[in-house]
Amino acid sequence: MLRESSNAADSEIDLHDITEGYRHDTDIEHAELLMGFAEAVARRDENGTSAHRQKMLELMGEPATVDAAAIAAAFHGFVRLADAIGIPYEGAAGGTDSTEMRDEIGISDFYRARHA
């Protein structure tokens, strides 16, 4: 979804930013801020979440901040659904994620991949 949407928007992404954290190679507006917010929420870091939220409010506005929180929340649900029911991941992203790409960016090191 990220690659498809980035292609459609003519944005550059470095998939290592997704698995390793932002390293300046992804060209999506406010990517560093949004990823920092996502990380703080996932770690339930109150101070970090508050700091990123304030910055989003200043730079992106209130509706964008609310939607960023909504997206972060949605994916806290999706990951639990996928991982608790054990749905097959080979068909994710329309089956376009190659083994080579998974190896290169570190997805093959995830627990479930190693224990499949």
Partner: protein, 246 residues
């Protein structure tokens, strides 16, 4: 239905998001297919309790969580198996295994109950994470509604692709109620299909947070205040942090 779950919010939250939260809270309180309203509210309460469980903290640090047997600190309302499911799914979802899942089934938990539990857990996590992201208090959980679970089992449910049975698109029956908007629905859409009402309740909430169904494969206008690439970079980072392959 309960009122606005965030009455003191300083933010102007989209009305469809507020409605989805209200509907989800009401759904949790209703008798489900395999669980009573009381049990479903207990599960939501246990989701919140799991975040501070010392055993879960220890399991998260363990290299092989499946080899450890620790006693969770629970609120005392659910069975030990139910507590384990809630705590593991909340605190360490990326390291769940088929052996762990099927172990609970082999020990006597009905597959439908397991699936319904996951639906309640995931809905509670979504609502609480949204509140956390905006620095708002978690919504007050409603009191349970009376009634008995229907124990409806879709005739088309079968265990093949996943650890638990799913109803594949095309295998649904009129008695299941509406399940899929399109016959090409991805596995994430099929995950809760063994308990059709749980699937509908979950997606009513999840869709309001992510994207309307018709926009998922439309990479132009997201219909949100952030662009589609911005949406997906949050999504992808959250998934990676949870070690979610999907």
């Amino acid at each position: 239905m309960a009122g606005n779950p965030f009455p003191d919010s300083p933010y102007d939250i989209r009305s469809d998001l507020l409605s989805a939260h209200e509907a989800a809270l009401a759904a949790i309180a209703r008798p489900g297919t395999w669980l009573t309203g009381e049990q479903r509210v207990w599960i939501a309460e246990e989701v919140r309790n799991a975040r501070t469980c010392p055993a879960c903290a220890e399991l998260r640090e363990a290299l092989s969580p499946g080899n450890l047997s620790l006693e969770h600190t629970s609120l005392g309302n659910l069975s030990p198996a139910q507590v384990d499911i809630v705590h593991r799914v909340v605190t360490d979802p990326g390291r769940l295994s088929e052996r762990w899942c099927r172990g609970h089934i082999d020990d006597g938990m009905p597959e439908g109950e397991f699936v319904e539990m996951i639906g309640v857990i995931a809905m509670t996590v979504i609502m609480d994470t949204f509140a956390f992201g905006l620095g708002l208090p978690e919504a007050v959980l409603p009191g349970p509604a009376a009634g008995e679970p229907s124990r409806y089992l879709p005739p088309g449910a079968r265990r093949e692709a996943a650890w638990l049975p799913i109803v594949e698109p095309g295998d649904e029956t009129p008695e299941d109620g509406p399940l899929y908007p399109t016959p090409t629905a991805g596995y994430i859409h099929r995950a809760l299909s063994m308990v059709p009402q749980s699937k509908r309740d979950y997606w009513n909430l999840a869709g309001a947070h992510y994207l309307e169904g018709k926009r998922v494969y439309d990479f132009g206008d997201s219909g949100r205040a952030i662009s589609r690439p911005q949406i997906e970079i949050i999504a992808a980072r959250i998934s990676a942090l949870h070690q979610c392959l999907y």
